[in-house]
């Protein structure tokens, strides 16, 4: 059985239908890519899957459990984590603390009022390990608000990773990273692959076709094509897009 299964999701904002009958399946340990033009409904799809919005219709199952309509907190605590397309960090906290606050160890003790968080060395060490992983080890003490754009993108992923998820959603992680940053991110994701289930929305096709096991194309709020990267190379929509980059 698939780890994650969304069936016939519908979502509208006012009278604009943004998701129309979307069904997606993510197998355990696989990396799924999602692509599609601007405004296709990709981020909205993530938002529905991670509890930011409730779907108007349809169902979502994760690890054999019905999670349709649960809040983002409930979904997060089941082991689903995400990064955001528009950055979404604790700006006054240091990079280390952003990651630390996301770790399950701290989350479990969140209501403890008399313990000093600064004394939790195990949690700090593992937070530091996550930072090193996303290349921010030397920025641990810099507040998130004063990091550079690329560093903030990396921290977004660090925060999502620190939650030690079973399923990780990344919304356009390479946006604005430049060639070098994109290459480093590809490396990181290649390492993470198989350790956890990953879903990535991405416009950078070279990046996606190299990493993904399967790809879904979303257009007009529907899944218009699905398959392995090789199968999709033949797809007319993919061909019409900037396939030159893939040659």
């Amino acid at each position: 059985m698939a780890l994650f299964e969304a069936k016939q999701l519908h979502k509208r904002f006012g009278d604009q239908v943004v998701l129309e009958n979307i069904s997606l399946t993510f197998e355990e340990g696989q990396l799924t890519g999602i692509m599609g033009p601007n405004g296709a409904g990709k981020s909205t799809c993530f938002n529905v899957l991670t509890g930011r919005f409730r779907p108007d219709r349809g169902s979502v199952r994760f690890a054999g459990e019905d999670i349709t309509g649960l809040s983002s907190r409930e979904i997060a605590s089941k082991g689903i984590s995400r990064s955001f397309q528009i950055m979404n960090l604790f700006n006054e906290e240091t990079a280390l603390d952003n990651v630390l606050l996301s770790s399950p160890a701290v989350r479990k003790k969140g209501f403890s009022m008399l313990r000093d968080l600064g004394r939790n060395n195990t949690a700090r060490d593992s937070a530091f390990a996550v930072l090193s992983r996303v290349g921010l080890a030397d920025k641990a003490d810099v507040s998130a608000g004063s990091l550079s754009y690329g560093e903030r993108r990396a921290l977004e992923i660090g925060v999502a990773l620190a939650a030690e998820p079973r399923l990780l959603f990344l919304d356009e992680p390479t946006a604005g990273l430049g060639a070098e940053g994109t290459a480093r991110l590809a490396q990181l994701i290649a390492q993470l692959k198989r350790q956890l289930t990953i879903v990535i929305i991405e416009h950078d096709m070279r990046f996606l076709f190299n990493l993904a096991d399967r790809i879904s194309v979303i257009h007009w709020g529907q899944v218009i094509a699905e398959g392995t990267p090789n199968e999709l190379r033949e797809n007319p929509w993919v061909q019409r897009s900037n396939l030159g980059a893939l040659a």
Binding site: T50, R52, S71, S72, R73, A76, S77, S81, R82, F84, N88, L89, F90, N91, E92, E93, T94, L96, D97, L100, L101, S102, V106, R107, K109, G110, F111, S112, M113, L114, R115, D116, L117, G118, R119, R124, A140, D141, V142, S143, A144, G145, S146, V159, A163
Partner: protein, 343 residues
Amino acid sequence: MLGPSRYVPLVTAPMLITVAVLATTPLWLKQLGLYQYLALEIMIWMLFALGHNLLLGYGGLPSFGHGAYFGIGAYAFGLLQLKAGTGLITGLLGTILISALLGGLVAAFISHRRGIYYALLTIAFGQVFWFVAMKWHSVTGGEDGLLNIKRPDLSLGFADISLRSNEAFFYFCLTVFAVALIALWRLVHSPFGRVLRAIKQNEMRASFVGYNVWLYKWLAFTLSASVAGLAGALFAMAQQSAYPNVMSLHNSGFVVMMVLIGGGLVSFWGPVIGALVFILSRDLLGAYTETWLLWFGLVFIGMVLFQPDGVAGIWQVWCAKRRTPPAAKNTLASLPVVAAKEA
């Protein structure tokens, strides 16, 4: 308030200095032409303001009706004593419980809000409590309030200490203050305090990380109301009465002014500084002019416009400048305070 989550000592130098300065006031306050009751009053307001800053500074939750819980504390302590005959410690614990219950009740109605809606709701609830205190004659004594609230003896098991003298009562309050100070200091550095701060910065991310934002906000308000109640109980003993004015909108506004002027948004010590500045100004300016609050209000407006980080903010910038070698001065990131403000 900025800084990595590093080990924080339980007791710090500023804490010792604050308590030491307060503890020695009986030795030098009179020489300055001031009176001992002033130190007591300042201390009680410091406690109230510290509790309020848990919401405003750490939670980013503007409670503009917080005088209500100060007043509830005063009335609760008085009523427990007059109707149920409670002693000192039982009375204080009962007061904390009642303030927490009423605070928790209000918090249940407002914790899904933030910003201006949150502020308006706190004012509305504050007015409800004030109205009850005014109109429920048979219990609250109406406009006259509760009179003859006593300072019960402190019983230590082997000995009873009378708090009737102002000095003994002052030192009792100082002990309560010191314990509360340490507890609040620990609280803001605990996982709970850090999560609360994170929620202030980004509620949405906090919930996606898996925190129950509503519950944290509810708890913060309930705790803050309990601290306000405790301060109110001490005030009732200091004044030996409780009256509607203690829970008026005025008092609610004063505590906000204290927190902001002192710099509660950037420092744990903001409310302490603010309460000191406010009550001292009231007495010193008040001796010259009846319209002292007008002048103070103008200073407050100036402060909010030009120095929103308050006295503590000025101090932090000054310290950061001194620490930074001149060559590095023009990089924003080297001034932690400036960088934090910008974020």
